[in-house]
Symmetry: C2
Subunit: 300 residues, 2 copies
Amino acid sequence: MAAKSTSFDLNRFLATRTDAVNAALDRFLPSEKTKPATIHKAMRYSLFAGGKRMRPAVLLAAAAACGGSEKDAMPLACAVECIHTYSLIHDDLPAMDNDDFRRGKPTNHKVFGEGIAVLAGDALLTQAFEIAAQAKGWPRYSHRDLVLEIAKASGSLQLIAGQVADVEGEGKKTSVAQLRYIHERKTSALLCCSVRLGGMSANCSPAQLKALTDFGYNVGLAFQVIDDILDVTQTSEQLGKTAGKDVAVAKATYPAIVGLEKSRKIATQLTDKAFASLKTFQGRAVALEALAEFLLKRDK
Amino acid sequence: MAAKSTSFDLNRFLATRTDAVNAALDRFLPSEKTKPATIHKAMRYSLFAGGKRMRPAVLLAAAAACGGSEKDAMPLACAVECIHTYSLIHDDLPAMDNDDFRRGKPTNHKVFGEGIAVLAGDALLTQAFEIAAQAKGWPRYSHRDLVLEIAKASGSLQLIAGQVADVEGEGKKTSVAQLRYIHERKTSALLCCSVRLGGMSANCSPAQLKALTDFGYNVGLAFQVIDDILDVTQTSEQLGKTAGKDVAVAKATYPAIVGLEKSRKIATQLTDKAFASLKTFQGRAVALEALAEFLLKRDK
């Protein structure tokens, strides 16, 4: 795959957007001193644990591709990051994936205890909707649409369904079709939702929303395939979380089912599909293209 | 306190509203067969475990007091019940209150395991916003207002703050002021939110909303004081949940701090305050009045 965006400075884009998202999250979240302090410390601990802000980044890039402003997109970018962080806190719990480290730091329940970790996840999920409600609405995309978009992508048919299927699939034989079902929900749903929300914040056309949906769906799947690959090929130190975990718990992954080489090929094919759906933006989706390339080439 | 609503058939009101709320919840929630079946079974297990539907009842009664329709209020009634049920599932977890029984049945995690119980709570919380987004909006009370209302009442400054303070307060000396702080958040916030949402669904006047807010706040506090009293005075069989639990874990309660008689007096005073705020409805708030009486006189 040839580089498609050599003139675009992705590092600068990511650094500036991460700073802007962090500053906005800091404004939206109650301070660490706000009573009860424990819950706000716990929420902020995971929210500011050095996440890649990939979902906010694709959301802001999608808004830019549709001619929207960062200001209009930012509340939604913060909302999806709250959703993502809540899902990580709950996934890491002993009753679920039982992970001790995340992003190179002890997981939320290792620091604050299980009870507060459950509540911190609950609070971030709730906060996501409070923040989303503060976004700008349009006649075409009302607050009702924005809330429905987030609730559906995060609900029992999508994000949560992925986690359930993931937990229930451990140790069982899984087909490629089942694995795709899990990946669509576990990762693609919220990434696709992020891209769509970016477009919606920019009052995009229905055709643009369709293109963004296809893009988000395929990039989301590619992202998860690569996550599976990295779990096999990288060390815990490189990843900042426990490597080899998927193999240890016999979790269904692409490398486990179709092998490493075929997994890499699938990731590339998905990314190519994603690129194809950006043609309609006629060069205005440079940030999205650069992000897709980055997601495919990342090593952690 | 004299009976204020002898002509109103509260039992009939509660029975018909409970049936209507149950039917609406059944329509809003994915069926038990919807994949992944486990999560939808778990969500429905707790949602249809015989709850009193007190929050939907006050919401529908508030809507009626403002001349609104049950149809317009129903999505919001279902949303608050989803929030209430999610909070019970998570509160019962071993990492929190560690309760084995709720409403006379084994708690969610006893039936489905802790991992699914966490996810079922998450899913109901998310579902609440999906359902609320389907309510009717008004120029005065938009979807943005409705979502903010629910998110704030359920968030880290209210409902979740109450649970945090409750957990952190166990075994510690608690003042009456601290206890009121906990009760305001743990119970009053969502009850007050329910009453307000009922008014908002009926496009109520700002004066009506103020009256409903005062009513909800005081009834919510009274409700929790009575819960504390019943924990001391009733058996597990009568309550359908573990009685004496508060004493066993040295939880701060009104009877523990001010004694049983004073607790009863406080509950009556709060209910009287609630009644006073309904005067503005000039007799059209019969259902709300009857509900307040019922909440004070209940024995389980």
